[in-house]
């Protein structure tokens, strides 16, 4: 039960924040918080791969983009002029008709169909790429995943179907059920904030249970020592692969939802720096720390999306990475970091006095 207390606290915070934002007449804060929430789904999935299974992935933005672009293409491509396949899709009831920004009626795939297609695509790609890539280790794994991310980015940027440098806009809303829809319409801002919040709460509940299970223990044993885990009968490559695929699905779903929320997607969502920032946030969150990753993910993305730092935004992000790696290499959200200013001052002093006896050389 103890595990669910922080989740309840999160739910209470979500409600209080919305109430406070609405009372203060600053509901527009909820827009950026919604986006930050979707990004934190990617980060939570990546925490499982990095913190628990001990495998780095520098290409997770690719899975996010796969979800987003699949949704965007399938829900904006007009099937009215299509061939036999389009006819079949229409007759199977996989399509809906909506009006685009120019007032013209278009027939396109239902967002549910595109969500399913995005998940199937991501699972297949993550599975196929994961088998050879997860055999790599250390820096070679970093390069392999980085390379995969670059390939996806280049395909997105160079292909006419994906809108090249302009991306895809006019993505319609995603009607979930009972009039609730993922859309960027300012009138449904509060509603969308709660959709994102529910997604985050579901994800973290699932992952907290997963890391506490037999699977979670197997993953940690792989992180500790892969050979030893294998000798104990843990099927290491299968576990690594399943976790990789699972985290890719989280990234993909986040991509689908955020694309419907933003009403479009651009190639910057697949950029290498995006993947790098996901990795960095997992690290500053404390690696094997789901709550740390969630808090850092939401806070950093929110501050950046609100544009508090103007043209110094990236500099602040780099500075935060350096600062946390120097002073809090195990993440900020740890009990030992909350023992008053004297302890923190002590730590700062010892870091500054360090002369390099740290095992690097």
């Amino acid at each position: 039960m103890k595990k669910y207390f922080p989740i309840a606290a999160l739910a209470v915070f979500v409600i209080l924040f919305q109430a406070a934002a609405s009372l203060a007449g600053r509901e527009y804060y909820l827009t950026q918080l919604t986006m930050a929430g979707y990004y934190s789904l990617v980060i939570l999935g990546l925490t499982l791969v990095m913190g628990y299974a001990g495998q780095i992935s520098m290409g997770h933005a690719a899975f996010f983009a796969m979800g987003g672009y699949t949704a965007a293409v399938m829900t904006t491509h007009d099937l009215a002029a299509g061939g036999a396949l389009a006819q079949a899709a229409v007759s199977l009831g996989l399509t809906v008709t909506s009006t685009n920004a120019f007032g013209a009626k278009i027939i396109h795939f239902s967002p549910w169909v595109s969500l399913a297609a995005a998940v199937v695509l991501t699972v297949s790609v993550a599975f196929l790429i994961g088998i050879p890539i997860l055999k790599l280790k250390g820096h070679y794994l970093a390069m392999g995943t980085l390379g995969f991310g670059i390939i996806v980015y280049r395909i997105v940027l160079g292909t006419h179907l994906f809108g090249e440098a302009d991306g895809i806009s006019d993505v319609p809303e995603f009607g979930l059920a009972g009039g609730i829809a993922v859309s960027g319409d300012p009138a449904s801002r509060v509603q969308n904030y709660y959709i994102a919040a529910v997604m985050v709460i579901l994800t973290i509940t699932l992952l907290l249970n997963l890391v506490d299970s037999r699977i979670g223990r197997a993953l940690r044993s792989i992180h500790g020592n892969e050979e030893a885990a294998g000798a104990m009968g843990v099927d290491t490559s299968r576990y690594k692969l399943s976790v990789f695929v699972l985290s890719a699905v989280f990234a993909c779903v986040a991509g689908v939802f955020l694309t419907h929320f933003n009403g479009g997607i651009g190639p910057s969502q697949a950029d290498v720096m995006k993947s790098v920032s996901f990795v960095a946030i997992v690290a500053v969150g404390g690696m094997a720390n789901l709550w740390g990753a969630l808090v850092m993910g939401v806070v950093l993305n929110f501050l950046s999306l609100r544009g508090y730092f103007g043209s110094y935004d990236e500099l602040v992000f780099g500075g935060i990475l350096i600062f946390i790696m120097l002073f809090f290499p195990d993440g900020l959200l740890r009990a030992e970091n909350f023992r008053g200013p004297a302890a923190l001052l002590d730590r700062a002093r010892s870091v500054l006095k360090r002369g390099g006896d740290n095992g690097i050389s």
């Binding site: 990095m50 001990g54 495998q55 780095i56 050879p132 890539i133 055999k135 790599l136 280790k137 250390g138 820096h139 070679y140 794994l141 970093a142 390069m143 392999g144 980085l146 390379g147 995969f148 670059i150 390939i151 280049r154 395909i155 940027l157 160079g158 090249e164 290498v272 720096m273 790098v276 990795v279 960095a280 690290a283 500053v284 690696m287 043209s311 110094y312 990236e314 500099l315 992000f317 780099g318 500075g319 935060i320 990475l321 350096i322 790696m325 120097l326 290499p329 010892s350 870091v351 500054l352 360090r354 002369g355 390099g356 006896d357 740290n358 095992g359 690097i360 050389s361």
Partner: protein, 296 residues
Amino acid sequence: MSLEQFLQYVLSGVTNGSIYAMAAIGFNIVYNTTGIINFAQGEFAMLGGMTAISLSAFLPLPLAIALSVFLVSLVGALVDFAFIRRLGKPTVLNMIIMTIGLSIAIREVALHIWDEKVRSLPYFTGTEVSSINIFGAYISPQVLWVLGISGIIVAGLALFFRYTLTGRAMRACASNITAARLCGINTRNMVTVSFMLAAAIGALAGCIVSPITQTQYDCGTPLAIKGFTVAILGGLGNSAGAVAGGIVIGLLEAFSISVLPLAYKDAVAITVLLIILFVRPAGLFGKKEAARLKEF
């Protein structure tokens, strides 16, 4: 494809490849003494180009480049003194995040110093329109500068590592750090030297390509990714492998343009790299142990 065309592609591939090799050698030098990939390596090249451009406004070109290389090597030393030395028993991932943070910070500081404008050094000889005819293929004289200077750097490094005390001490660190320390080598200072050397090589590479590819505050990251690709392809820590890997990647990219749209150029080299890694997980010339050691 005519012979002239073929030669043109080869020359362009080798030129780009030698720049990638420079970046990869910078990675290798730091990797060999520390076991980390310094993701800020590309930023050294950007800083080198930018500083030389600013200095060339009131200094003769060779002097501006020399001073820029010296200043950037000081930045390399500062990176080690101010940040790498202060890390307490870091994991490899902590060090990677640290250098990514430094890379972002250096790039953004450069943005605020030099703004977003694209700049370039003047051509070392001739102008952007002068060209030399080699068996029917046309190249800019700057290409000869790039090839010549990279050749000199590679040869110079080989001599440095073989015949100087510092160079030998650095090799000792690379092969066995404990044994090196037992021999009385100050391994800490070797890390500083390796950062300075990597920064200097990066800066020089950044200067010699500046007339061809131009310099902007964010030109470091793509170069770092290329350098990392090449270093992995050649086998981490193997500088001869880096040269071979650089030329392989350069040629692949050059010839890919003749069959595929330009937009996919970057993806082609990396696809080939991934296929090679799947078959040989330690790169073309890397040792198996190197790919297993120093994991996360």
